[in-house]
């Protein structure tokens, strides 16, 4: 029997298809018009594709859950919002690239094409119910990201970042392959829905359950590598610092959205998230929180600081995942909300780094921000809002989403992990405070960044608007918490 796949199946994958067709369009346009003016055209095409992708994801959200390709793909409210978030992250990356791209050699059709391919694959992995499909998607966006990280080969940092990211990423992918083999051994297929059906039906003998757990743990390794969970996080500071700023943003926010979307799907294979997964997640969450926050404590290179901060945020999201076993803890929603808000906070932070490092021939350091507070009030206020939000203080969105993950963990009975997470927010307060101190309390350093830090154009508008959004979501968190009712 030949399964009949039709347009209905394709409709579920609309957002992904939009990205991939967009990539093809971009390459085609580049070939058709080889001139300077085509750059704007290419950029517009990429933005259009992402816009369409976002719109289609929204449409899927409204249409409700849909299964396609014989159950290999299953969307639903949470994956749809992840897809929406990914498309938005892509648009924000375009905004960053537009500002930085000229000086960093990013304004090429290939850049946009790779970005779109990566986004399409990332969106795909959040709806995939088939480990093989997930693996192909994972590799697709990984390959694109390796090259994006090393896009500007003229820069030494780019080269080193690309090689490190590639070697470690491929190493992690090997674990995924072996894990997939073990899952196949336990189930006779690599379908996550098959696993959950067998498990919830109690039809899986204990040894097979164990083989399945081992296989899923190995698969999780590769995904945890992408989101930067300790001890798989060591590449993050090096790669962020080595890549261009737009790519660093994309690596942090996009990989988090896709990685956690995939992890949610993966853990969906074991309904109720039984042992050993809570124990694994708890250990990793604690390790990740400590690694991220302590590493950031004395960091002076801003991009590295943001990388460690990204690791720490992964830790908070892992804390939220701990609630998955408990109905009504809103764990999935808290993970979703946290990653989305992280994408916004990270954009504001990276956007301001991009604005400040313009024309600087070396990495942006904390001391370059000294005294900016009063020379560049809007720049500094936006950065301050992002830092306060990252530290998780009210009245910002960062506070609300942190509450969500803490509550999910507490409801799941993981008091200790929640306590460690809350204690970590004390450490992280010290981390982000250092940025505020540099901005507002220390005198201007003589060899600080000159002339940069001007907010203008699309980037300035987007940064300020999203900083305000962080405040607004903190004051009116209804919409953020409404994610819980999805």
């Amino acid at each position: 029997m030949i399964p009949a796949y039709g347009l209905r199946d394709l409709a579920v994958l609309g957002p992904e298809i939009a990205c991939i067709l967009g990539a093809a369009l971009v390459l085609g346009l580049d070939m058709a018009f080889r001139s300077q003016s085509s750059k704007r055209l290419v950029e517009a095409a990429a933005a259009l594709a992402l816009g369409v992708s976002a719109a289609l994801a929204l449409g899927r959200l409204a249409a409700g859950p849909g299964s396609a390709f014989g159950g290999q793909v299953l969307d639903g409210a949470v994956p749809d919002v992840f897809r929406l978030g990914l498309a938005a992250t892509g648009l924000l990356t375009l905004v960053l690239a537009r500002r930085e791209g000229g000086s960093q050699g990013l304004l090429h059709a290939e850049f946009y094409a790779l970005l779109l391919f990566a986004l399409g694959a990332m969106e795909l992995i959040t709806v995939s119910q088939d480990l093989m499909l997930s693996f192909v998607a994972l590799e697709t966006f990984s390959l694109a990201m390796y090259v994006l990280a090393g896009f500007n080969k003229a820069w030494h940092g780019n080269r080193e970042a690309a090689l490190k990211y590639f070697l470690l990423g491929a190493f992690a992918a090997a674990f995924f392959v072996l894990g997939m083999a073990l899952v196949f051994g336990a189930l006779g297929s690599v379908r996550l829905d098959a696993a959950s059906a067998l498990l919830s039906g109690g039809k899986l003998a204990a040894p097979r359950e164990m083989l399945l757990d081992l296989g899923l743990s190995l698969c999780a390794t590769a995904l945890l590598f992408k989101v930067g969970a300790a001890p798989f996080h060591l590449w993050t500071p090096d790669v962020y610092a080595g890549s261009t700023t737009p790519v660093a943003y994309f690596l942090s926010a996009g990989a988090k959205l896709a990685g956690f979307g995939a992890l949610l799907k993966l853990l969906g294979a074991v309904p109720g998230c039984p042992a050993p997964f809570p124990q694994i997640l708890a250990v990793l969450a604690v390790a990740t929180l400590l690694a991220g926050n302590l590493g950031a404590l004395r960091q002076t290179n801003l991009k590295r600081l943001l990388a460690y901060s990204s690791v720490a945020h992964t830790g908070y999201v892992l804390v939220g995942l701990l609630g998955l076993g408990t109905a009504g803890s809103g764990a999935a929603a808290s993970v979703l909300a946290y990653t989305l808000v992280y994408a916004v906070m990270a954009f504001v932070a990276f956007g301001l780094v991009a604005a400040a490092e313009g024309g600087l021939k070396r990495p942006l350091l904390l001391e370059d921000l000294q005294g900016m507070g009063f020379e560049r009030p809007y720049f500094s206020l936006a950065l301050a809002v992002a830092m306060v939000s990252m530290a998780g203080l009210p009245p910002t969105a960062g506070f609300i989403v942190k509450l969500g993950v803490f509550k999910a963990a507490l409801d799941g009975g993981h008091t200790l992990a929640a306590v460690v997470a809350i204690l970590n927010s004390v450490v992280s307060a010290a981390v982000y405070l250092r940025v505020l101190v540099a901005l507002y309390m220390l005198p201007k350093s003589p060899d600080g960044a000159q002339g940069g830090a001007r907010l203008s154009g699309t980037l300035g508008f987007a940064v300020v608007a999203l900083a305000l959004a962080l405040l607004a979501l903190g004051l009116l968190p209804g919409s953020l918490l409404a994610l819980g009712s999805l």
Binding site: M132, F135, V136, E139, L143, Y146, V147, G150, K153, H156, G157, R159, E160, A161, A162, L163, K164, F166, L167, A170, F171, A173, A174, F175, V177, L178, M180, A181, L182, F184, G185, G188, S189, V190, P237, D238, V239, A241, G242, Q299, N301, R304
Partner: protein
Amino acid sequence: MFGVGFFLALAFALFAVGAFGVLTRRDPLVMFMCIEMMFNSGNLALVALSRYLGLASGHALVFFVVAVAAAEVAVGLGIIIAIFRTEKDVNVDHLSELKG
């Protein structure tokens, strides 16, 4: 003697040997070969399991993994060549300026 357990153990052994190679070799090309070895150990496990379970779908999985590995090799070698083309010394340890 040559049950599925044997082949799984062989696959795990190859996986471990590959991991050992990645951790000890400095030449990125050899590191990458070792990663490919780890991919192959997964494939071997899949083939052995397919035979035991009598399922051809495992073979399809191997097919896909090989395709993915081929793509990865192309890109990976591209990256390695692009980086080390101008260097005299092909050594991963020399690329450790980004740190801290």
